[in-house]
Amino acid sequence: MTDLTGQLTQQIQHAYATKTPLKIQAGNTKAYLGRDTSGEVINMANHTGVISYSATELVVRARAGTKISHLNELLAEQQQRLPFEPPSFSGEATIGGTVAANQSGPSRPWFGGVKDSLLGLGLINGYGESMQFGGQVMKNVAGFDVTRLQCGAMGSLGLITDISIKVLPEFKAGHTLIFEMTAEVALEAMLQWANLSLPITGMSHFQGQLYLRLQGGESGVASASEFLGGEHLEPKIADVFWQAAREGRLLQPQDNQTLWRWSGPSDTPINTVSNTSLINWAGSERWVLESNSNSPAGGLTQHLGGDRMAEVYGAVNASQQALQQRIKYAFDPHGIFNAGRLYSWM
C-alpha cells in the first residue's frame, strides 16, 4: 500500500523538462507485447494498493501497480470478480498494465473487454500534470472519454496512476463441456450457440476439440448443459485450459516462430485465415503460428515473437496516423512515454 503519485509526477516533470524518454514498467509481464522501446524505467511496481472497494457499489479502485492476483483474491472474499477476466501471469500482472495493453480473457464476447468495465482513471500526462477522468459511478458522460482511450494505448499517452473498475458477482456454478469437432464444424456450432441466450462464458477450438464453458446460476447452467450435450471436462483440467487460454499460452512459438493474432467477424470462414491453430472468443479471435520467414497475408497482427522493431500492429492509413500523432502530442508533446512501443511513428 504505497502512494507514489508525488514521486512519479516529479519524475515525469523532470523528463518533460529534459526531454528524457521513459519506459513504463511494473510487473514486466507484457514486455513481449508491442514494439521494443527504450528509455529510463519509470517503475510502477511499488505504486500499489486498493484505494476503495465497496461490494454493494460494485466498484473497486486501485493504484496502477496493484496485482491482478491481489484484486482477484480481494473480490473473491465478497463473491465478486473482474468481469473481463484478465490474465494474471503467475500473479505478476498489474491492473495498470492490463488496461494499457487491453487484455481480457475468454469471457470477452459475453462480459466485455477492459473498456466495458472501466469507470475512471488517474493519468499523469507528458507535462507532468496529474489528472482524474471518469469516476467511481456506473454512468458518466461528462467530458471526453479519456479513460477508455487508454485501453490499448500501451502507455503512449501518459502514466496511469489509479483505476476504477466495475465488478460483478461471482458465478454460483460452472463447468466446461468438450466436443470432438473439426474447426469448420466447431465454428458453425459457436455461431449457433452464441445467439441462444445461454450462460456461455467461453468458446474456443483447439486441437480438434471445442471447449465450451458455462457459468451462471445453478439451474441455468444445469439446463444449458443438458441442452448442449457434449462431455464434461474434469474441473481441474478445465481450469488449466482456461488459464492457458487467458494467458495466451496454448500456442508457444519456438525461437524461429511468430504468433499472429487475427480479429474480425466471428462468421469469417475458417480458410480465410490460413493455418489457424486456435479459435477463441466464439470465432472472433484466431491465432496462427508461422515460422519467422513466413508472414501471413493481410490483417493479422504480430503478437509474440518475430522482429519486434517491425510495425507489429500493422499499417495504419495516413489520416488515422496523423490523427493519432496529434492525439499523442495533445497528451505528450515531447514524446517521452513509451516511444515507438505502439507504432514506430508514435
Binding site: 467530458g143 445467439n195 445453478e218
Partner: protein, 490 residues
C-alpha cells in the same frame, strides 16, 4: 429564450463574413435539392432547439443531406469557409447539445436512415445514423435479436445521436450504454474525410479511439455509419414491483440485492410524487400511498429467472417492501413499465414545465442525496419528483416550475445546478447519460480541474483545430472557466 452569458464569446470570432455566406449557400444549393437547404425563419423554426426547449437559437442555414458524399461535401465547405457546424439527429437530446449556432450551419442527419445490414450469425447491425433506436430493435426482432440501449426517447431518437451522447436507458446496469454496444463507427472529419474507428472484431490494437468518439457530442466528427452489437432476446422476461414506505428502505433493498449477487436487467425507482403523477396518467395500479417504488426486471432462461425471482422477492421483503406484485404475463409487465416510461410526460401534466436533471451518484448515497434534494426543494420553493435508474445510481430529479412566472425558470436552473454539484460532492457526476451540451457547461469546472479541461481542449484541437464542430458545447473554454471560478470566489 435563454442563453448563457459567456459561451458565445468565442463564437463571435468565427462569424463568417457576408461574402463567404453567399458562397456557402450557393455551394449548398448546387449540392442539394432546394428543399434541403433551408434559410427562412419559419422553415428553420422546428430546428431551433432539441429536447431541452428552454435553449433556443435559429441557425444561419439548415441543410438536410441524403448521402454520405453530401455530408462530406458539407463539412468540406464549412471547413473551407470557416463556418461552425452543428450536427443533429432527431433532436430528442436533453442538454441543448444540438441547439443551432446563430452564425453556423445546422446539419440534419435524419434522411440517412437506412438499416444497411443485419447479420444474424454475428448478431450485429450496420446502420446509417438517422435510423431510429426502436426501428433497429423492431428490424432485429425477426432474427430473435434486439438493440440493448433503450433511452426513454427510443421511439424517436437516432443511432447517430445515441453515439454522440453515449445514450443509456433502463437496461444499462446489465447491458451497458451505447459505448458497450458498438463495434465500429465511420465518421466524417471536419476536413470532409471519411474515417473508420473500431473494427469488425472485438478488440483492435492501439488506443481506443472509438470509445473516445462515443459521447463526444458532435465535437469531434459526424457519424455516417455505425456497426452495433445486437443481443439475443431472452426466452423469459419477468417484471416485479415492490412498494416501500421510505426511499431509504427502497435504496437499502437495491444495495442488498446487488450484495447477494443479482444484477437485474433493469432496476428503477420512483418517489411518491412521481408515483402519483404516473398513476394519475396511465392508471396501471401503482400503490399511490407508497413513498417509493422499485420496478425490477429479470431476464434469462426459465430456470435462471425462477432462481433469481425467489432471491429478489425474499430480499425485497426482508428489506421492508410492504407490497410485492409479480407480473403474471407480458401485458401486466408492460403495464408496470408503462408508468415508469411515462413518468416524464406524467409529471408534465401536474406542472406547466419541468426540468429534468441527470446526475449519477454512488448507490449508497441515494438516501442522503434524496434528503438533500428535498431540503433544496423547500429552499427554492419548487417541487421535485424523482425518477431514477436505481441499479446504476443515475438520478433524474424532475424540477417542477412555471416558466410563465417571472424568475421561476432561473430558480429551477439554480436548484438544478445545486443538485448537480451535490452529485459531484458525494463522488458522482453531473451527467450519467444526457450529456453536457450547452446546459451543463457551468458545472464542468466544478467536476473537472483546469488540467483536465485543458487536456479536453487539446484533444478537441487534435480533431478540429479551428473549433468549427459544435463550438461552445461540451467543453468550456479557458475564459469560461476563469469567469466561472471568479464568480464562485467573488
Amino acid at each position: 429564450m435563454h442563453t448563457l452569458p459567456s459561451t458565445s464569446n468565442d463564437l463571435e470570432n468565427q462569424a463568417p463574413e457576408g461574402g463567404s455566406v453567399a458562397l456557402l449557400v450557393s455551394a449548398f444549393q448546387q449540392l442539394l435539392p432546394a428543399s434541403s437547404v433551408i434559410m427562412s425563419t419559419e422553415g428553420q423554426r422546428p430546428f431551433e432547439c432539441d429536447g431541452l426547449a428552454v435553449y433556443q437559437q435559429l441557425p444561419l442555414i439548415t441543410v438536410i443531406p441524403e448521402t454520405v458524399g453530401q455530408v462530406q461535401a458539407i463539412l468540406r465547405l464549412c471547413h473551407l469557409h470557416h463556418v461552425p457546424l452543428v450536427p443533429r439527429g432527431a433532436g430528442t437530446g436533453l442538454c441543448a447539445g444540438a441547439m443551432p449556432h446563430a452564425e453556423g450551419v445546422l446539419l440534419v442527419m435524419t434522411k440517412l436512415n437506412k438499416i444497411l445490414h443485419i447479420n444474424q450469425n454475428t448478431a450485429t447491425a450496420t446502420v446509417q445514423p438517422g435510423v431510429r433506436n426502436l426501428a433497429l430493435t423492431d428490424a432485429a426482432k425477426p432474427f430473435g435479436l434486439y438493440y440493448a440501449p433503450d433511452p426513454s426517447s427510443q421511439i424517436a431518437c437516432t443511432i447517430g445521436g445515441n453515439v454522440a451522447e453515449n445514450s443509456g436507458g433502463v437496461h444499462c446496469l446489465k447491458y451497458g450504454l451505447t459505448v458497450n454496444n458498438l463495434l465500429q463507427v465511420t465518421l466524417v472529419t471536419i476536413e470532409g474525410e471519411l474515417m473508420t474507428l473500431g473494427g469488425e472484431g472485438l478488440d483492435e490494437p492501439g488506443m481506443d479511439l472509438l470509445s473516445l468518439f462515443v459521447g463526444s457530442e458532435g465535437l469531434l466528427g459526424v457519424v455516417v455509419e455505425a456497426k452495433v452489437k445486437l443481443l439475443p432476446r431472452a426466452p423469459r422476461v419477468q417484471v416485479l414491483l415492490a412498494a416501500y414506505d421510505s426511499v431509504t428502505a427502497a435504496g437499502d433493498s437495491v444495495a442488498a440485492l446487488i450484495g447477494q449477487g443479482i444484477i437485474p436487467a433493469g432496476l428503477e425507482m420512483m418517489d411518491h410524487l412521481a408515483i402519483s403523477a404516473a398513476e394519475d396518467f396511465v392508471k396501471v395500479g401503482y400503490p399511490t400511498d407508497a413513498q417509493a417504488l422499485l420496478i425490477c426486471e429479470l431476464d434469462g432462461t426459465d430456470a435462471e429467472v425462477e432462481e433469481q425471482l425467489a432471491v429478489v422477492s425474499e430480499c425485497f421483503k426482508q428489506h421492508g417492501a410492504q407490497h410485492i406484485r409479480i407480473a403474471k404475463d407480458a401485458a401486466e409487465a408492460d403495464a408496470l413499465w408503462q408508468g415508469r416510461k411515462a413518468a416524464f410526460p406524467a409529471v408534465g401534466r401536474i406542472s406547466p414545465d419541468y426540468y429534468c436533471m441527470d446526475g449519477t451518484i454512488p448507490r449508497g448515497k441515494v438516501g442522503y442525496v434524496l434528503t438533500r434534494i428535498s431540503e433544496l426543494s423547500e429552499t427554492y420553493g419548487l417541487r421535485v419528483a424523482n425518477v431514477f435508474h436505481a441499479g446504476d445510481g443515475n438520478l433524474h430529479p424532475l424540477i417542477l416550475f412555471d416558466a410563465g412566472i417571472d424568475g421561476e425558470l432561473e430558480r429551477a436552473e439554480l436548484l438544478g445546478g445545486d443538485i448537480l454539484t451535490l452529485c459531484v460532492d458525494v463522488g458522482g457526476t453531473i451527467t450519467g447519460e444526457h450529456g453536457v451540451g450547452l446546459e451543463k457547461m457551468p458545472q464542468m469546472p466544478y467536476q473537472f480541474g483546469d488540467a483536465e479541461l485543458a487536456q479536453f481542449r487539446r484533444l478537441k484541437a487534435a480533431f478540429d483545430s479551428e473549433d468549427l464542430l459544435n463550438p461552445g458545447k461540451g467543453i468550456p473554454t479557458l475564459k469560461y472557466c476563469q469567469e466561472y471560478r471568479s464568480l464562485q470566489h467573488g
